[in-house]
Amino acid sequence: MPATKLCFHTVKDLRKALLNREISAVELVDASYKRIEEVEDNVQAFISLTKDLAYKTAKEVDERIKINADIPPLAGIPIAVKDVICTKGYTTTGGSKILENFVPPYNATVAKKLEENMIPIIGKANLDEFAMGSSNENSAFSIAKNPWNFKMVPGGSSGGSAVAVSSGETVISLGTDTGGSIRLPASFCGVVGMKPTYGRVSRFGLMAYASSLDQIGPFGRCVEDVALTLQAISGYDNMDSTSINIPVPDYSATLHHDIKGLRIGVISEMLGEGTNPEVKEAILNSIKIYENLGAKIEEISIPHNQYAIATYYIIAMAEASANLARYDGVKYGHRSKDAKNIMDMYMNSRAEGFGDEVKRRIMLGTYTLSSGYYDAYYKKAQQVRALIKKDFDKAWEKVDLLISPTCPTTAFEIGSKISDPLSMYLMDIGTITANLAGIPGISLPCGFDSANLPIGIQLTGPVLSEEIMLRAAYNFEQSTDFHKANPAI
């Protein structure tokens, strides 16, 4: 494989090469940047590159290897970090004009963990503005392109993170998932993406979109890489009150165990009318693979699934309207020039700084929280959310994991849905229930449609079921070849 394609290797192989001194960490970072030079014009996965940071970390790794000192499992492995995660001293834009020049004076907890694990951050990945979107078209800077077909969206909101891995710019990446923002782009770009249990990964330093739904998670080219990355970023954080204080299991230790007798439910509502036939076929094939692996398949109903989209968008927009109030031009970020008074300053700064979709969500969120509407919208949505949680709790009495298409379709054309927000919101139908219920979910490649666009299958499971979920994903992956296919760029 040519030097610029080093990032297509697995973590395991690269680590071996590093420890055997076949390559150095600096060479690996070089390879990553060379690959970026090669493909970035076409894919636009990054908003900014953090070369100083990447080389500083890589040199540290090389120093340690030189003296035969231990290095953490992911040391030297190039990673892309979604640009909504704060990196101390490095511009973090949130994909928004309003924070175009914002340099955080602190690290997000996950950024700190990457540093501790000596994982070189290659750059800040493209995204929909403040993680609001399903296509990456809402980025204030550029639209990331699907490496399988540049005319297609990579999915969103963590589009850049999925693209960086899919096109071999980095080995792994971090994204965030509020309604499917990791799993959807993973599915569209043919990589593995996981949204952990709410509270498993600290949200400190993640620019909040919808606080009760947001969760940081990993992308990788294979399940093992995702397991290793999740390991590195998980754990209790006393800076995040919603963080779970339960020890993190060793995810990769049990990956290769079999899944005989595992009970897997198929969400009946997710294979109905709205699902593209080619996607449906790929899922049915996948179910057969699981049967062959010894899993017991059962049909499961999540009756309140039909209310999930409405519930999700009410809660997410309400929280977003409050979370984004701080971007007002007073303390940091874009401040409109020539404002004559404080009201002008607020209104002009926000009007100039935010994009259309962000404005739409702030307005809708503000509306649903307004006096007289709270009970009808926000409160009711929280009640439905509780019912959805209950549906899942009932499901876990019968099965260990649930299976469904990550998205009812494969990647769609850039521009085809941008003027129709509702049809865009429907892209999240398969993923948002996991956020509403706070449970983990993973998307992995399970086929291609007739246009050679990747199809993703999603596994969801009870709270803190990451270990068994990763094992089920690994078993599937090892008996298929979908993850071995690379886009021809």
Partner: protein
């Protein structure tokens, strides 16, 4: 303002409810580690969390909750088993996130009460929230007329307990007393400085009037910006008169927020109900709901100090103090604590009260300080009182000693010995002095003897002066009478 006669006034009843914000004096802020100290350099006690930077998260300072529970217990409140925080949303530059983390429908404390002068005032709730920053306007004292404004975020995120009374206070004076008692309580608990001038204790008053006998409440105005107890009473007095006058002239009271202007002694309209905010409250998703165990509440209750009302009662019924004296002592917490310590040293209660309320209070007032900041210790005062009781020093000498000790401290007994301040009871020595005085004042002696007995005091004074106040007054009186007696 035109005269409202007492007769007109008597036709109305005043209804007042107070919303009191007490800054809880924890070392760090409610949701971050920044310090809370007052009067520091602008924006020196801030961090990304209290500045509302992107991605930061609040973490509750548990001490804040403990203080809220302690205060709730002192106010006879029910302490919630489950409580939560909510976001109260409005845009203002002193509010970095443009929402305040507060409590909406599940306050930590509710349904309490306190007694003031025997009257029960119910407390609706006491809830926690974060304080906002302070605007510093350039070129004017307020926003109006200023050329630009700066924000000091030091106060942002300082914990506040908002204590909301029921509208059961029925006069401006009662409002002041209620506020004074709340101040006493939070100070005795050690949870708040209770400083109205510095703003560690703040108060908004909801004021309305209604014709005597009417059940439904009149339209209220909310009065803000009272920075002293006196201002609180005056502002409400003014507001009541204003409302009575409006109603007497056939006009309506408008529901609005009004600002007390201390210099002019009036309230002015700040914003009307129509301009009032829709705060769009919703549960704070970045904080988990609080579970408060009965066991924890019990442990906090066990740390409850003697409260002002209990202390007042004890002073009256156990120590025999007058209501007036008890009140004054209790209302000055440092003095009450000092008094308690002096009493523990087995001194005479009456003498101790007299000294504390007399010379010592006068000194403190003159020097604008409190007793705990002087050099006087309960031990040194007790020692001095004992020396007086034993007749070793005179009252006159003690008056000098106490000032010395207040200023410089020191051991009273040593001081008496070294400076030779003990009472002179030696008769021959006093007699010598008397003779000397009489000899050098022949004129006065003559006048005394020819029927001016009031000059006796003059001779006593001279003798005391000559002995530096040390002569035993009784001995001086007796010997003087003997010497001046007609031969």
């Amino acid at each position: 303002m035109p005269e409202i006669t007492q007769e007109i006034r008597d036709k109305y009843e005043t209804v007042i409810g107070l919303e009191v914000h007490a800054q809880l004096k924890t070392k760090s802020k409610i949701f971050c580690n920044s310090a809370t100290e007052f009067g520091q350099e602008h924006n020196s006690q801030v961090c990304p969390v209290c500045l509302g930077y992107p991605g930061v998260l609040p973490v509750l300072n548990k001490k804040v909750l403990e203080y809220a529970i302690l205060t709730g217990l002192a106010l006879n409140c029910e302490i919630a088993r489950h409580s939560k925080f909510d976001r109260k949303q409005y845009f203002y530059p002193d509010l970095p996130k443009n929402y305040q983390i507060s409590q909406y429908d599940m306050p930590v404390c509710k349904n309490g009460h306190i007694y003031i002068n025997g009257k029960k005032i119910r407390i609706n709730r006491a809830h926690l929230e974060e304080d906002a920053g302070k605007l510093v306007h350039a070129g004017a004292t307020g926003l109006a007329g200023s050329t630009y404004s700066l924000v000091d975020y030091n106060r942002t995120g300082v914990p506040l307990l908002e204590i909301v009374s029921e509208p059961e206070i029925s006069s401006p004076e009662e409002a002041r007393i209620y506020m004074e008692e709340l101040r006493n309580i939070v100070r005795y608990l050690g949870v708040c400085d209770g400083n109205l001038e510095e703003g560690s204790l703040r108060c908004d008053a909801n004021v309305s009037i209604r014709p005597l006998g009417q059940i439904e409440l009149g339209t209220k105005a909310e009065i803000k910006n009272m920075n002293s107890f006196k201002a609180l009473q005056r502002a409400i007095e003014y507001e009541v008169e204003r409302q009575i006058e409006l109603v007497e002239h056939g006009e309506r009271v408008v529901q609005e927020t009004r600002l007390w202007k201390e210099d002019e002694g009036i309230t002015i309209s700040m914003r009307s109900k129509e301009e009032a905010h829709d705060y769009r409250y919703f549960p704070e998703p970045d904080l988990v709901p609080m579970e408060i165990s009965a066991e924890w509440v019990h442990r906090i209750r066990e740390t409850m100090p003697e409260l002002p009302a209990e202390k007042r009662q004890r002073y009256i019924s156990e120590l025999g103090l007058s209501e007036y004296d008890a009140d004054i002592l209790v209302n000055s917490m440092e003095m009450a604590f000092f008094f308690d310590s002096v009493i523990e040293l087995k001194t005479n209660v009456k003498t101790a009260v007299n000294w504390l309320m007399g010379d010592i209070t006068a000194y403190l007032k003159e020097n604008k300080t409190t007793i705990d900041k002087t050099e006087l210790t309960p031990e040194s005062l007790a020692e001095m009182l004992n020396l007086i009781d034993k007749g070793i020093i005179s009252n006159a000498i003690a008056k000098k000693i106490v000032i010395q000790v207040l200023e410089n401290g020191g051991n009273v007994e040593e001081m008496v010995e070294k400076q030779g301040l003990s009472v002179i009871s030696d008769e021959s020595s006093i007699k010598d002095t008397i003779k000397k005085i009489l000899e050098s004042n022949p004129e006065q002696v003559e006048r005394y003897k020819s029927g001016k007995p009031q000059l006796f005091g003059f001779f006593v004074g001279q003798v005391m002066k000559e002995t530096g106040g040390r002569a035993n007054p009784e001995t001086v009186n007796r010997l003087l009478k003997e010497e001046l007696a007609p031969c």
